[in-house]
Amino acid sequence: MSTRRLVVLGLVVSALVAGVLSFYASAHPDGLTHVAQSLGFASSARSSATSGSPLAGYSAAGVHDPRLSRGLAGLAGVAVVGLVMGGLVLLLRRRSPRRER
């Protein structure tokens, strides 16, 4: 399989996971949150400075259908992470000497 094909396939899988599968994620608190609740220090959490973000809590602001809202937020995240990491990798590659393997 060519690298291009592998990356495209991986991106499709990631988009499906973030855009569709994520709706079926467990809504229970995660390990740390659960521990904080059971030991009684959960209340020391402050709400994030970015809680007003249009994507806060993995739901797209203004989209009322919960499935669509979470799916769109997931796809937006996939796109942003891909652009940022892709850009970083390009920068790092340009600065490093070409090596043979």
């Binding site: 991986g10 899988v13 390990g31 521990v35 790092l92």
Partner: protein, 229 residues
């Protein structure tokens, strides 16, 4: 395991941000010099994207608790530990700034726990496991799973260590360590399964791209003529 704002006091949060920043800077250099090459670079972008996506899918671990992939060992084995630290840092920063997942003042803490401790403990464990396991290509994904299984509870214990330094509330630390470890061993099992699945699928298709499989390629691969660049 995303730590929200307020769990740790300001000096501890600043301290973790300084340490995390230093490690990330060192990883930028190491990744460019020793890990990223023209052929494997696209995989680094894909790994970060996949980790973001997989982290949205919490899986139940029993008794009203859930966990999700961290992806530290997965990334370290596929693209190298320094590049893995960068992948996790990008994912955690996007989550903190756009999705309000993990506090902004706690970003350094989260990078330290998941992008540094889970990555480097996971990678070190992977290397140890690979040295013990049979010299087969399939051992790479098994060793990656073992790295994941160990890396997750170690990151949880690192949180307990930070909480001992600057936790917001007085909590008995032995009890905190016990329950954090207990839950994160369970989450680590899920992490190990997903890591083995992801690593084995890349090893099955393009073992030459897998950082942790260097030196483990079958003879046949070595005889394949390189395409002229």
């Amino acid at each position: 395991m995303h730590v929200p704002d307020g769990f740790l006091d300001a000096p501890t949060s600043v301290g973790t941000a300084v340490v995390a920043g230093g490690v990330v800077a060192a990883c930028l250099v190491r990744s460019a010099r020793h890990e990223l090459d023209d052929r494997s670079a696209p995989l680094a972008g894909l790994v970060a994207v996949f980790i973001f996506a997989a982290q949205m899918v919490n899986f139940p671990v029993g008794a009203g608790t859930s966990g999700h992939l961290i992806g530290a060992a997965l990334a370290a084995v596929l693209v190298g530990p320094a590049t893995a630290t960068l992948c996790l840092t990008v994912v955690l920063a996007v989550q903190a700034f756009l999705f309000a997942d993990g506090g902004v003042s706690a970003l350094g803490t989260n990078v330290l726990l998941m992008g540094v401790v889970a990555v480097w403990v996971g990678y070190g464990t992977f290397r140890l496991a690979l040295a013990v396991l049979p010299r087969r290509l399939s051992s790479v994904s098994v060793a990656a799973g073992i790295g994941a299984l160990v890396g997750v509870p170690m990151a949880a214990l690192a949180f307990v260590g930070l909480y001992a330094l600057g936790g917001a509330a007085p909590i008995p630390l032995a009890q905190l360590a016990a329950v954090m470890t207990g839950w994160h061993v369970l989450i680590g099992v899920g992490e190990a399964l997903i890591t083995m699945l992801a690593v084995s699928s890349i090893v099955a298709t393009r073992p030459d791209l897998v950082y942790g499989a260097h030196g483990r390629l079958p003879e046949l691969e070595l005889r394949t003529p390189e395409p002229v660049a």
